[in-house]
């Protein structure tokens, strides 16, 4: 694995001035270790029936492409141009005004000009023009057109896996050109040649066959959750049993497998469990639809639908009334913008979500019948249904990282903030140009949160981390809350690199810390530990 430069060295290496050489001639790109992810393994591609399974490395001279790769790609482009208006339109209308150029976190952190969104799209656009339009064929380079070569494929692979599909550029584009759409198409085309990455496709395989990204079989899921319940007992004294695959439950709860697999996601998971138990909800998890996340979204529209379809299928089998989804970014892009169209309509047994506690009817989810757990909780707080002691989170000075997908694919800004303001006393937002719809990616989104990509993750995460440093220095922030499982997996590494004093948590971890349970109110067993089994008030411990 590539050596990671020190933070100050990394900053010094950032230069936004592009080279003199024309970008079209600058192929193939110099493939640098630390800036690409390992290719999908041969057996993984075979198992999911993807083309051209083979052993190869992006560092090889010969990528073992099919001999007719040009025809494959050009046919693949034509096909997609006729299916997705976004693709065709975004190929046609860019004026290269450059408003997007310095909006991409990977560009800001690397200075590599092909990470400017406009140029990332131009990598594909130039081939579209050169191979499929008469203007491009006639005027070539003058019209920004070029021919498809093996070097171009290498360039595509390098740069379409240096885009986290965060859509920040799309906010600033005067025509709403969305690089995410371009990258999705770029990746779909690359799949046709077997150029893809293992960190995405192995989870996809696991999801198809076993039920979740990590490939945890059903009995192990139950075991893991039971372990978490022991931890909950340790912290709260409560013995809780989580219902699995329970037919006739009112609510199916779906969350990314990251939440029950690794720290700090597990603390958020404990938070959901404590909350649902406090409310005495009639809920169930499923060990079949055990993945809320969807690495299929980073693969192809078809793979995304195939993974998501299980959720409705399971909701139908169990006969639940509605679905609550956990804290996750790209998962919520799928649930909000794709689920209904791609895998709906929702099964007939589902009803418009209605909180059994407050009676609130979630009209805005009346078609998908699925709500975000933060919507559910914010509603509880607004109705005074939770007894909260925010001082239990006093050792934390909290800021909130808006995850890309809920922000720009959903407009999900106030719900988590509302919760945070009620469960902790110290909450400070980062500077306004780095949050909400202008939020920066964690640097590891869209399936790029792998170790071999670490340098690019630290570069891409630099703008986010830099804003965290700002509130750390100004307000003493030491906790970065987020509502995304990839964030919870990726931000600890990012913070460790750029702002080591800052920890990462999910919103519902803080909810569970602050939630005053009935037996705690009576003084029977006051809470002394947080979800991490660390003392709630460290200074008192020391004084004692």
């Amino acid at each position: 694995m590539a050596k990671l430069p020190k933070p100050d060295e990394l900053i010094k290496s950032i230069d936004w001035t592009p080279p003199e050489k024309d970008w079209m001639d600058d192929v193939p790109p110099e493939i640098k270790p630390g800036r690409f992810c390992y290719p999908a393994k041969k057996n993984i591609l075979e198992e999911i029936g993807f083309p051209n399974p083979r052993d190869w490395s992006p560092l090889d001279e010969d990528w073992k492409l099919p001999s007719n790769f040009r025809e494959i790609i050009i046919e693949g482009m034509k096909d997609r141009l006729s299916k997705y208006r976004s693709f065709k339109l975004f190929m046609d209308i860019c004026v290269r005004c450059g408003a997007c150029a310095d909006k991409c976190h990977y560009f800001l952190g690397s200075g590599d000009p092909k990470n400017m969104p406009v140029l990332r799209a131009e990598l594909l656009r130039s081939i579209y023009k050169g191979e499929l339009t008469w203007q491009g064929k006639l005027f070539g380079k003058l019209a920004g057109a070029r021919k498809l070569t093996e070097d171009v494929i290498k360039e595509w692979f390098y740069y379409y896996y240096q885009c986290s599909e965060c859509r920040r550029c799309s906010v600033f584009c005067p025509y709403g050109i969305d690089t995410c759409e371009v990258t999705m198409m770029g990746r779909e085309l690359l799949h046709l040649l077997g150029c893809n990455i293992n960190w995405i496709l192995e989870p996809v395989r696991n999801c198809f066959k076993i039920g979740n990204h990590i490939g945890i079989p059903p009995h192990t899921i139950k075991e893991i959750i039971e372990y978490l319940c022991w931890d909950i007992e340790e912290v709260t004294g409560l013995k809780i049993e989580v219902p699995f695959n329970k037919k006739g439950a009112e609510i199916l709860f779906v969350t990314p497998s990251g939440d029950y697999f690794a720290e700090p996601g597990i603390y958020t998971m404990m938070g959901y469990i404590i909350l649902f138990n406090y409310l005495d909800l009639d809920w169930t998890m499923s060990t079949y639809a055990s993945e809320g996340g969807n690495f299929g979204l980073f693969t192809s529209h078809e793979a995304m639908a195939k993974i998501n379809a299980k959720i409705y299928h399971e909701a139908e089998r169990l006969g639940v009334r509605f679905i609550i989804g956990g804290e996750c970014g790209h998962m919520w892009r799928v649930k909000h913008q794709y689920m209904d169209t791609a895998t709906g309509p929702a099964p007939k047994n589902l009803e418009t979500p209605k909180s059994p506690i407050t009676g609130t009817v979630f009209e805005h989810a009346k078609s998908t019948k699925m709500i975000h757990v933060c919507e559910f909780t914010a509603d509880l707080i607004a109705h005074g249904k939770l007894e909260l002691d925010p001082s239990r989170n006093d050792k934390y000075i909290v800021t909130f990282h808006d995850s890309c997908n809920p922000s720009r694919g959903m407009g999900f800004f106030e719900e988590p903030r509302y919760i945070l303001r009620h469960v902790c006393n110290n909450f400070y937002d980062m500077p306004e140009n780095t949050i909400r719809e202008k939020t920066f990616c964690c640097g590891s989104g869209s399936g790029l949160n792998t170790d071999e990509f670490m340098e690019m993750r630290m570069r891409g995460g630099f703008p986010r981390a830099n804003a965290v440093q700002y509130v750390r220095d100004k307000h003493g922030v030491n906790m970065l809350a987020c509502i995304c499982a990839i964030d919870r997996a990726a931000l600890p590494a990012l913070m460790n690199y750029w702002a080591p004093e800052v920890q990462v948590c999910g919103v519902h971890e803080l909810v569970a810390n602050a939630l005053v349970l009935p037996h705690e109110k009576t003084g029977e067993r006051p809470r002394t530990l947080d979800m991490r089994q660390e003392p709630l008030k460290p200074e008192e411990e020391e004084n004692a």
Partner: protein, 334 residues
């Protein structure tokens, strides 16, 4: 390189007209055939482009939300940045098309020591607004050549535009604005290394064609003082399909050629952004995809996936061992 090519092309246009009209006297060709043909190409081309886009499905609701969604009643939502219904979408599009809303958000990132700073950067917005509105006003003003009698609003527009009464004939403010805006839009492409890197010949060419158009117009009005009566007779002739090429200076034919070239170039270049923006699925859809079901595209196939019952067969032993229920319905159905 791109800029040089564009400049040479535009100069070549001037030469062609000079040789064609000034030397060879092909007034009919340049005064009648070329403008009609260009206008036809423009109309048919734009219609073709629009139909071409409209035919392609929008399979998913990929709205870019730039404000709070509609969820809980007590959370204030943003109607303009996250429209929930079609009326709000129209408002969002109006802001986008007439006020360049997204461009107005523009920021400029700067790396100062170890800190990334994002300053407001409205110059591009201002340049773009100035250019587009000046161009639009100039086009409207030109309606005085194509109408008789000239409608009052056009006359008023003309008077307002030349309000300062500088020189004779009076200088139009929009002429000054468009020249300044064009110069800004051109210089920023050269001055910013990032923009120079991404700019193509096809980015400079429309700028230079419009430069040519504007400069030839100004020269004609203020320096060569072309006979306006003859010009009006000619333009009214175009309108009534009884055109007669006017006996005026070559500068007029150069002006006419630039607008013709621009019209013909329009549908086949990036200039189609003018209509393309209306089709943009990240802007022209409502953010209500959880409340309203949107039918999939005709080509979309429902996915095939491993059903619960198939999965249960694979993991039956583990399910039983760990005390998870076995769904007997899986067997009943068979």
């Amino acid at each position: 390189m791109g800029a040089v090519f564009a400049l040479v092309t535009v100069l070549a246009f001037v030469m062609v007209v000079y040789l064609g009209v000034g030397v060879a006297g092909l007034k009919g060709l340049f005064g009648i055939v070329v403008p009609y043909a260009a206008f036809l190409v423009f109309l048919l081309g734009m219609v073709y482009r629009m139909i071409d886009w409209a035919k392609i499905p929008v399979p998913f609701r990929i709205v870019t939300t730039c404000g709070q969604q509609k969820s809980l009643r007590w959370i204030k939502r943003s109607r303009l940045e996250s429209p929930y219904n079609n009326f709000e979408v129209v408002l969002r599009m109006i802001l986008e098309v007439f006020a360049f809303r997204s461009l107005f958000r523009n920021l400029k990132a700067e790396l100062k020591g170890p800190n990334l700073i994002y300053g407001s950067y409205k110059w591009l917005w201002l340049g773009a607004i100035a250019f587009h509105y000046a161009f639009f006003t100039i086009l409207l003003r030109h309606l005085r050549f194509f109408t008789y009698p000239v409608p009052e609003p056009i006359q008023i527009l003309d008077q307002v535009d030349s309000f300062f009464h500088i020189g004779l004939p009076h200088l139009y403010m929009t002429d000054v604005v468009i020249l300044a805006a064009l110069t800004f839009l051109f210089l920023r492409r050269l001055a910013d290394p990032k923009l120079r890197y991404i700019s193509l010949a096809s980015d400079y060419l429309p700028l230079f064609m419009i430069y040519g158009l504007v400069i030839s117009g100004i020269l004609m009005r203020h320096f060569f003082k072309v006979d306006v009566t003859q010009v009006k007779e000619f333009t009214m002739g175009l309108v009534h399909f009884k055109p007669k090429a006017p006996d005026v200076g070559v500068i007029f034919y150069i002006h006419l050629f630039f607008i013709s070239a621009l019209m013909a170039y329009f549908p086949f270049s990036k200039l189609v952004h003018m209509v393309g923006v209306f089709f943009s699925p990240t802007r022209n859809l409502a953010n209500n995809s959880r409340a309203v079901r949107h039918e999939p595209a005709p080509w979309w196939k429902k996915p095939k996936f491993k059903t619960y019952c198939e999965w249960q067969e694979d993991f039956k032993e583990q399910l039983i061992e760990s005390g998870q229920p076995i769904d007997e319905d899986c067997y009943k159905k068979k």
